[in-house]
């Protein structure tokens, strides 16, 4: 699913209103969202209520595949964070996937 988040300006920072976990430098077994515990992708761990992310439709547990075209499946945590928080970007376009979507895709493939 493609989600477009317009960052909210707070003081000197642009925030998106969610937090991420994961990364190739992190331990994937701790990820409560991933089906596959070796998945080192970037997952959304929290979404601030009423924040730009929630408004845009992001949900906790979403796995972020791309940010503005940049791949997020094989990045370190820090790189992911950076890609999301570029100062000169007002909007970030994410490509995310979630369990419900994955199941839908699987079902459609199987049928």
């Amino acid at each position: 699913q493609r989600i477009e988040i317009h960052k909210l300006r707070q003081g000197d920072n642009l925030i998106l209103g969610f937090s991420i976990g994961g990364g190739i430098d992190q331990d994937p077994t701790q990820n409560p969202f991933s089906e596959d515990k070796t998945d080192k992708g970037i997952y959304v761990t929290r979404v601030t209520a009423g924040g730009p992310a929630e408004v845009a439709g992001l949900q906790t547990g979403d796995k972020i595949m791309q940010v503005n075209g940049w791949d997020m499946t094989m990045v370190t945590h820090d790189q992911a964070r950076k890609r999301l928080t570029k100062r000169n970007e007002e909007v970030v376009r994410l490509l995310v996937t979630r369990q419900s979507l994955q199941k839908a895709v699987q079902q459609s493939m199987m049928s």
Binding site: Q10, G11, D12, N13, I15, L16, F18, S19, I20, G21, G22, G23, I24, D25, Q26, D27, P28, Q30, N31, P32, T45, R46, T76, H77, D78, Q79, A80, R81, K82, L84, T85, N88
Partner: protein, 911 residues
């Protein structure tokens, strides 16, 4: 089309290929060729300023042509007829676009910057005022590269190529200019009596401009030959074409400052000229200038490096140079324009011109009342002055070229001429011996004429409309580039610049308005910041009255209070060594609450260089700019300012901290650019002469610094140059000196492993030495030895460079450290954001803290650090548990992030 080709084939069978090529080029960048002469000069001048060698440009041009049209074939230019006009227009646009782009391309200046960077290596600790000699000459080589690339980017090359190719494909392919001339020649002659020399003049510029080329192409494609040699038909054709093409062509002219009405005239003239040109070589006997033009036309091809016909090489130049003294003004200006075209990226020609004594004539032409003449002459000089061969520059200087240029600058109001002049001066200023000469003659004039008006100082800020911005920016950029060059020349140069009335004020004002407009990536800003950096170099030693600011030896370690009364009487307060202050930690401690001295009058002139206000400016630039050179320069300026022992540096150091500059710098350590990392780390090193800075830097920056060190195992290790690695190592060394806290944090960031690896296996002796110094220092902290030994390190690692790090033990050590820091992190967690990252236990640890460095929490973090620091200013900072915790958390976060394999808990970042 056919006719011209035919003619050309008749004229020069040998150049069919070139014709084709050129045709292509012309189509590609009609603008380039024409601009080449007149416009190009300016553009070349701009680009050339930094890079003296433009050799690349020629290549580019060639390539383009070749690509465009396959060589070889019958030589008929693949002029589709349509393209010329179309492309012409495009090229014109492109040309103008280039003007705009020009300001952005950093490549040209990149090399230059580098030279300046080395210049500003003011790392006070070990080498007070280490002043690397201006690598101007090194810069040349680099510059040429960048120039080349710059040109590429800007499309100069194409333009250039155009010129040669475009004009006279049919004729001789080689130089468009010559062909033009030919055109002009035959046409001109009839024209001259008919039209006027003025027309001729006008057409001249056209010729060299992209437009003319376009015209030529058009002509060709349209079957110029059909027009025959008659002027009238030509005119009609021209008119026809003109109407079609002139509007577009005229555009560049307009842009360039030509009168609009002239455009049509020009077009007309051009076309006839073109036609004439085609016809002329063959049909018309040589007559006077026309004859020479024709000849030139024919020869030009040979001059062009693309052309391989040796026949035409040398004879052209003498004729051209002879034409420079021709009584008819248009001839002079044409000759000058042609010379400009010839010299474009062609070093041999430049040398020949010099040998043929062309330079004094050109310089003489600068004083010519007619604008076309001196404009062209200036363009030619600009091209000549560009290049690795500095003899041309010397030749220009020897015939008093510099005063002449300055004179002309004062006299003229024509923006293009000013661009050319400043461009030439920029080129000249890249040659070391000439810098003082330029300063002597032109500093005040340049400042008054260019810098001050264009910076908006003392007047409304530069919120001009677009066109005006572009205009002034070119001249401003040229001049600022020139000042940048000369400011690297040494103490005397710096002194002159500092004392120059209004210069520093204006530069700062310009920078401030640029920051305000968020336009910090352009070349002018880069130049200005570099000038500021250069001028800040050794400012503590060179500024008049500096001695008074020096801290006196021993004694007067009075408190902070006493000193801030008057600006000049504070020297006593600071105590401490007067020497190349290495470790002023003790002194700095007393200045925690240092108030800046109240000035009795507002700071002005060079004093602005080191006012703490300027810190804010640099920090804004560091925060906003993406231009590596600008970043490096701003960091370099801070580095310079915080170097040394004098009062202002102390203020600066404290101000950087208070303005939250440390996080900015630390973040820049993550930059991909070598020189930025280097400049920032040396700046941090200087800044850590201030005790509180040292602790802060140690806590926040250690991770980044360690990350910047090369490592076999590190996945994302940056591939940094030796100099940068050495700089980082030295910074680390400085930070851990006198601070076992920081040494401990170094250990915790797994720095030991890298250091041992470096000291053992690095290729560079400097790196090895620096790394082993650090290791030895760490070992000297006895209290840390236990921890080290727990990790598996033993004394041999630290004392010798040959011990191999035990990888596994190192790993174990890492976890050990992780464990040890966790509790602290937990504690500090409370101080950190109240993030309730319940998702994953322990994720509240450092990672958040770490991540928050970049986000809003960064503010908080530093704030708290500062506040705690302030509160306990009198106490050793280590006792500040708050701060300690924060430090710990920062470090821990770094650990967690770094220890990729070990981290048990996933980190969570708030975005």
């Amino acid at each position: 089309e056919q006719s011209p080709s035919n003619q050309t084939s008749i004229a020069m069978m040998q150049e069919p290929q070139e014709m084709v090529e050129e045709t292509v080029t012309v189509e590609e960048d009609p603008g380039t060729p024409t601009s080449h002469v007149s416009i190009v000069t300016s553009e070349d001048g701009t680009t050339r300023r930094t890079e003296t060698k433009v050799t690349k440009m020629v290549k580019t041009v060639t390539t383009r042509t070749v690509r465009q049209v396959p060589l070889g074939p019958d030589g008929l230019p693949a002029m589709d007829g349509s393209s010329p006009l179309g492309s012409y227009t495009d090229s014109i646009d492109r040309r103008y676009l280039k003007n705009g782009e020009r300001f952005i391309t950093p490549q040209a200046s990149s090399t230059l910057t580098r030279s300046y960077n080395s210049y500003n290596d003011s790392y006070p600790e070990s080498h007070e005022g280490q002043y690397r000699p201006y690598g101007g000459h090194d810069g040349y080589a680099e510059l040429s590269d960048s120039y080349g690339s710059l040109s590429r980017g800007v499309g100069y090359r194409p333009r250039y190529a155009f010129v040669p190719g475009g004009s006279y494909r049919p004729d001789d392919g080689s130089f468009t200019l010559p062909s033009r001339r030919d055109n002009y020649g035959p046409v001109a002659q009839p024209q001259v009596p008919v039209g006027s020399s003025v027309d001729l003049n006008r057409s001249q510029p056209e010729r060299f401009q992209p437009e003319p080329y376009g015209l030529e192409d058009d002509n060709r494609s349209l079957g110029v030959d059909d027009e025959g040699y008659e002027l009238d038909p030509d005119y009609s054709t021209v008119n026809r074409r003109t109407s079609a093409g002139v509007p577009e062509r005229g555009r560049p002219h307009k842009g360039r400052g030509y009168d609009d009405p002239l455009d049509s005239e020009l077009a007309e003239e051009r076309i006839p000229y073109l036609h004439g040109g085609y016809a002329a070589p063959l049909a018309q006997p040589e007559r006077g200038s026309m004859a020479s033009i024709e000849r030139l036309g024919k020869r030009s091809p040979s001059i062009d490096s693309i052309r391989k016909d040796p026949r035409w090489r040398d004879p052209d130049l003498p004729e051209v140079i002879a034409m420079l003294s021709h009584p008819i003004d248009p001839v002079k200006s044409n000759a000058a324009a042609y010379l400009q075209h010839l010299c474009y990226e062609n070093d041999k020609i430049k040398k020949d011109v010099r040998h043929l004594k062309g330079i004094p004539i050109l310089v003489g032409l600068l004083d010519h009342p007619k604008p076309e003449v001196h404009r062209k002459a200036c363009g030619a000089l600009r091209n000549i002055s560009y290049g690795k061969d500095n003899e041309n520059k010397v030749a220009i200087k020897n015939c008093d070229g510099i005063p002449a240029l300055i004179r002309l600058l004062r006299k003229t109001n024509d923006m293009e001429v000013r661009e050319l002049i400043t461009g030439t001066l920029w080129n000249l200023s890249s040659y070391e011996p000439l810098k003082m000469v330029i300063i002597n003659h032109g500093l005040q004039t340049l400042t008054n004429e260019v810098i001050i008006p264009h910076s908006g100082w003392e007047s409304e800020p530069n919120e001009d409309s677009k066109p005006r911005d572009a205009e002034w920016t070119t001249v401003f950029k040229n001049t600022s580039g020139k000042l940048r060059n000369v400011s690297s020349d040494g103490a005397e140069a710096r002194r002159r610049l500092r004392e120059c009335d209004g210069l520093v004020d204006a530069l700062l004002h310009a920078l401030q308005s640029a920051v305000g407009k968020k336009d910090t990536d352009n070349k002018s800003v880069e130049n200005c910041v570099c000038i500021m950096r250069n001028l800040s170099y050794h400012v503590h030693k060179e500024v008049p009255g500096a001695d008074k600011y020096q801290e006196l030896d021993a004694g007067q370690t009075t408190g902070t209070g006493g000193s801030q009364k008057k600006k000049k009487d504070d020297a006593g307060c600071f105590g401490g060594k007067k020497a190349k202050g290495k470790k002023n930690g003790d002194l700095d401690r007393n200045f925690d609450t240092l108030d800046l001295p109240k000035r009795s009058e507002a700071a002005k002139g060079f004093e602005l260089l080191y006012q703490p206000d300027v810190v804010r400016l640099y920090l804004s630039i560091l925060t906003e700019s993406q231009n590596f050179n600008t970043l490096e320069a701003a960091a370099g300026a801070l580095q310079n300012l915080s170097a040394g022992n004098w009062m202002w540096s102390t203020y600066i150091r404290a101000t950087v901290r208070k303005e939250r500059g440390l996080p900015v710098l630390v973040e820049l350590l993550q930059s991909d650019s070598d020189k930025v990392v280097r400049a920032v780390s040396i700046a941090l090193r200087n800044l850590s002469m201030d005790r509180r800075n040292k602790d802060l830097i140690g806590s926040y920056a250690m991770g980044e610094l360690v990350r910047n060190l090369p490592s076999r195992q590190q996945r994302s290790a940056k591939n940094l140059e030796e100099d940068t690695v050495v700089a980082v190592l030295n910074t680390i060394h400085e930070i851990i000196t006198d601070s076992s806290e920081n040494a401990r944090s170094l250990i915790q960031t797994q720095g030991i492993q890298k250091l041992v690896a470096i000291s053992k296996s690095s290729q560079s002796p400097r790196e090895t030495k620096a790394a082993s110094h650090i290791l030895q220092m760490i070992w000297s902290y006895k209290e840390l030895r236990n921890a080290l030994q727990k990790d598996g390190w033993n004394k041999s690692h630290f004392q010798s460079v040959s011990a191999a790090p035990k990888g596994s033990k190192g790993t174990a050590g890492r976890s050990g450290y992780d464990d040890s820091t966790l509790p602290l992190v937990d504690k500090s967690q409370d101080n950190e954001k109240s993030g309730s990252r319940d998702m994953i236990p322990m994720d509240e640890l450092g990672p958040d803290g770490y991540s928050t460095i970049d986000h809003r929490d960064k503010e908080r973090k530093y704030k708290s650090s500062d506040s705690t620091g302030d509160a306990s200013e009198k106490e050793p900072l280590k006792n500040d548990t708050n701060r300690k915790n924060i430090n710990r958390s920062n470090r821990a976060s770094v650990n967690l992030v770094d220890a990729r394999d070990i981290k048990p808990q996933p980190v969570d970042s708030w975005v």
